[in-house]
């Protein structure tokens, strides 16, 4: 798994590549925490190169969404979610908790 963060004026675009499972989810969670610890609560997560995500990754997303939405200070949105991952998120009932965007520009512009 590989994570790159790009800071924009109004939000951070965080690209996660590869596979997020119980082994790598702590590293994913840490990257998200690093953003929120820096007072960045508007996060767009680009999943276009994400191959796989288990519930360990979903939990990190949920915890971050809770943190970001507190006091209306921000939100986590998902960008370019691959079909397989979208289906798993739907099964877990997560699609109602996250706005999704088909392109990063739209996501970044939404904040």
């Amino acid at each position: 798994m590989e994570i790159t963060t790009q800071e924009f004026k109004h939000c951070d675009l965080i690209a996660v590549k590869g596979r997020v499972d119980s082994a790598t989810a702590p590293q994913f969670a840490k990257a998200l925490e690093k953003a929120t610890d820096n007072g960045r609560f508007k996060l767009a997560i680009d999943m276009s190169e994400l191959e796989y995500m288990s519930s360990a990754g979903f939990r990190a997303l949920l915890a971050t969404q809770r943190n970001c939405k507190r006091y209306n200070r921000g939100e986590v949105v998902l960008v370019r979610v691959p079909d397989r991952i979208r289906e798993a998120l739907e099964l877990a009932g997560f699609t109602e908790l996250f706005k999704t965007f088909d392109d990063p520009v739209g996501a970044v512009g939404s904040f």
Partner: protein
């Protein structure tokens, strides 16, 4: 490892199948998913079904590592995967603490963000992704058997 009677009766071929032994650590989830994908691919399952099978196997193995072995580092996980007819059977054995997925409360998927439960999601996904999830616990260990038919 001693065999487990109930599952043998349901899936007699399981006892003749060599089980792959994995260290019960999260770093080996990749290899477990690869093993399942390989068997499913040869068995003619679709890419969509293969992803579901990998996810179910991952959630099952993650639960065993986290809850049955509670992070014990030198424990082993025995995984068997085979296609019979149009059905794939994934079996996992462990010698850790017994853990009954039935005792896991179904997460409330309608709950809003603040009330959404973090736990129980893995077991819920396993049940949704597979056609059957069977769990049994004996003195010899725990056996989880999951099946899925080709669509």
């Amino acid at each position: 490892m001693p065999s487990l009677r109930g599952a043998e009766a349901a899936y007699p071929f399981l006892i003749n199948m060599p089980a792959n032994i994995f260290p019960a650590r999260f770093e080996f989830l990749d290899e477990i998913r690869e093993m399942v994908a390989e068997v499913a691919r040869v068995g003619g399952f679709s890419e969509k079904a293969i992803y579901s099978l990998q996810l179910a196997a991952d959630e099952a193995a993650s639960n065993i590592i986290e809850h049955a072995y509670e992070g014990e580092s030198d424990a082993s996980l025995y995984v068997t995967c085979d296609v019979k007819g149009d059905e794939i059977v994934i079996a996992m054995r462990d010698t850790g603490k017994s853990f009954n997925p039935k005792s896991v409360k179904e997460p409330d998927l309608k709950a809003d963000l603040s009330e959404r439960q973090i736990g129980g999601l893995g077991v819920y996904l396993m049940r949704k992704l597979m056609d059957s999830v069977h769990y049994e616990s004996t003195r010899a260990g725990n056996l989880l058997t999951m099946t899925k038919r080709k669509e």
